[in-house]
Subunit: 273 residues, 4 copies
């Protein structure tokens, strides 16, 4: 039976990459579950008191999920015809980064470089990117964003422009003694302000500084309005285009304002081709 | 007179659930008034100085409203044909929770578990949910929200995704010494930042942290834009649909998807009246 | 000459209330100028160092403008046929409040109740309301707002509802020791948070508090989106309605999709009535 | 060869102001590069540690770019037929300010007025304005902004109005002891609040102050909504106008305002081709 292994691979491929077989669906659900749980564990494990009490249990569970993800990686590698393409694909790299550093950390931990280990372990969170496989890329939002690429880039350029100028001005006006220790720092403040976040860790002290800040906030209105406006108009265009009129002309009255699935002209009753 | 009690129940039902009789309207207004006043009293009673001066008067008034709500609950129970359905309905539970804990608190208070009593008493605020009965659910806003369920869930998933990644990164970059004591804490900071609230109780101290924060704020623009865009486009669609396809049914094929000014059915070519 | 005074009054009326005569326009510009300058003076006069240096000059100038506004008030009273209506009209009251308290302050100042005097003097700022006369009320914005009155009220009700519930919950969860000293105080915090202002003067300290706060911020997105959505859709409707199609039907082909000023049916060429 | 220099000037002009020749494009790219790098250098040079380590290298590089910009200025001056117009044009002034102060600083630095020198040097950042040459002014955003000039001015007036009134009220309610030291200061706070920035450096302490602040925040919603609404509706109109009335002129009456699918001129009834 020469075709046996091939056939067996196909079955496996169907389970791993397909979603139309019960087993395939089960696999996906299991994977999503594992990702969610392991991410949740990593997050709560970072809370000191929780780590103290159940750190060992969590690390055991995480190692279990590590095995699962490793197995998944191996299987994906087996079933994919073009190994190289998978290895260098976005998800191929994600799958790798989600497991490799942890194995590395085991060796490093012998040398007990703890801070490095801590960071290497956090690479586990990369598994969250695997989720991307299950979010459809063809969403209206993405379309809207793509459609207005140029507008958005002009917007970001303008923003950077304002931030540089205002940052430099505030650096001169307020100066280091009021927390504006450098232009990058002032630019950070400008972004914090124009995005209306306003931590208040740095804030203008002088009259002129406050005046300039006020102006910046008013500009901020317009700035905030722009991306909203872009995305909104794109979205409404998208949703309008859902029910377009056919552009087939009626041979008799020449009217072309027909609902999408018209069989007859709604002006003169002529059969449409 | 066998039908007497039934008839009497119907009258009562008309008053309690109906709004087309003068008495029914009066009942509703009285109830809304009672809810508003009792909520107002509970709120101001939590202000220490006010509690000291007129706490006793307020609690007397609240007990009076308690009686009213109890009476209302009993009456609703009497007039409803299907008792069980009402008891387990949303408003049935609201009506219950708005009164039961207070009665419970009376007994507890004998044992004087004051903190528990305090909380039990606050359950009175639940009466505010009764208001829901008088807000029409068929508002354009709710429709808009429902219409874009999927978009909103994709939006929330993306948000969670960003918050996890940024939270983990800031936890590594800034670390506990700058207030990012754990990933959940960092995620809290990320939400505070991306929603442009920016309390400033936690804020990045390192250059890299500030740079990442700035990037997050810029992303925040897009993030804020999305729900606005969704709801706006839904709302404008809704208001556009005010002048939709005519709803005149074609006598032949029953099709009713005709352009506004259709003279003939676009499915079977029948002249429309 | 019996008609003389009447005629003279008419002329004056034309100057004061009209804008189509050169004198009338001059009067308006002079008035707007006086209002702007006097407001500016009052504002800067509140700055201690400025007050010290040029307080006397400013108060002299303000008294000069006081005379102007008094004169204006008297003239308006003279030229208006229905005195009573003017006195009780919005602008009649504004004009009065903008001058009366200052005169009052002169007497009070003899008894030197300085804080009261200070406040009375600030009533001068009321003159800014006079500006309203020169802003056209028929703006698209106002229309948009009026058109969506009900939506906005539902929005505000929902907001109040959320603020009460969250306020009460935070009052229980965080309690006075973390700054949530009363339900009104918690409600204030909730508004500061949901409006994404986020002063940070009060902020949650407990895990649960932070979790609830995060939830509130996410809800805040939707909440912010709603008024924007309402106003935006209203505005775009308004601007769409600028070039509506006539609804006159063509007697021949029944088509009614005609540009506003159509003389002939654009489907069959029939002359339209 | 009389025409030689002229011809040579034209070639140069093509390189400097044209973009359709390879050299012209190269020139533009080189210039954009120089601007970006020199701006980047100025920004990082303001960071103390960086300045200490590589301040000299940076200043050398900046002087090199200074020469380039000077050369550019001279060349532009040479190739422009109407020298005067260029000198007084926006970009003429920008090009000048981006170089002149630095030369001035050299002389001043002999007298070592360092603070002044520091500021003069920062004028280099003006070169960023040169970028404007490469951003197309005919963007949809700018159109949208221009189209709604009046609306925006009404919006700003209303904003100023609210800020003055609220500022004055808070000045009276909270007073200097709570940080509202003057009306301008209160106005600054009002802008910080209504723009939802909310630094928290100044925040209301009294009950009444907090109540007024809450009201202001709710108004802030509407205020934020307005510019968004304006720009959004303008943008969607812009994108709707992509499929406008046909621009085919009627051969008889020259009218070109026809609905998309017109067969006959709606002014004179002539059949359209």
């Amino acid at each position: 039976m020469v075709t046996y292994p091939k056939d067996w691979k196909q079955k496996l491929n169907q389970i791993i990459n397909g979603i139309d077989t019960p087993l395939g669906r089960a696999f996906d659900i299991a994977l999503i579950g594992s990702i969610s749980i392991s991410c949740f564990l990593i997050i709560i494990d970072s809370v000191a008191p929780i780590h103290v009490v159940m750190g060992t249990v969590i690390s055991l569970l995480l190692n279990f999920f590590l095995l699962i993800f490793t197995l998944e990686y191996v299987l994906r590698l087996i079933v994919t015809p073009k190994k190289r393409d998978y290895l260098l694909s976005f998800y191929g790299i994600v799958d790798f980064i989600a497991i490799a550093p942890i194995y590395l950390s085991f060796f490093v931990s012998f040398g007990s470089f703890l801070p490095i280990v801590r960071i290497l372990r956090l690479f586990r969170l990369f598994s969250v990117f695997k989720m991307g496989r299950y979010v459809d890329e063809s969403g209206a939002l993405l379309k809207a964003l793509r459609a207005s690429k140029t507008k958005i880039s002009v917007f970001l350029f303008t923003l950077l422009f304002i931030v540089i100028i205002v940052g430099a001005l505030m650096y001169i006006i307020e100066g280091p003694e009021h927390g504006f220790v450098s232009i990058p720092e002032s630019m950070y403040w400008a972004i914090v302000t124009i995005s209306t976040v306003g931590y208040g860790d740095i804030s203008p002290q002088t009259e002129m500084g406050k005046f300039l800040a006020s102006a910046l906030m008013l500009v901020g209105y317009g700035i905030i309005a722009v991306p909203t406006g872009i995305i909104t108009s794109e979205l409404s265009n998208a949703s309008n285009k859902k029910e377009p009129l056919t552009d087939q002309k009626c041979p008799i009255c020449g009217n072309s304002k027909h609902a999408k699935d018209s069989q007859y002209c709604n002006q003169c009753g002529k059969k449409l081709t």
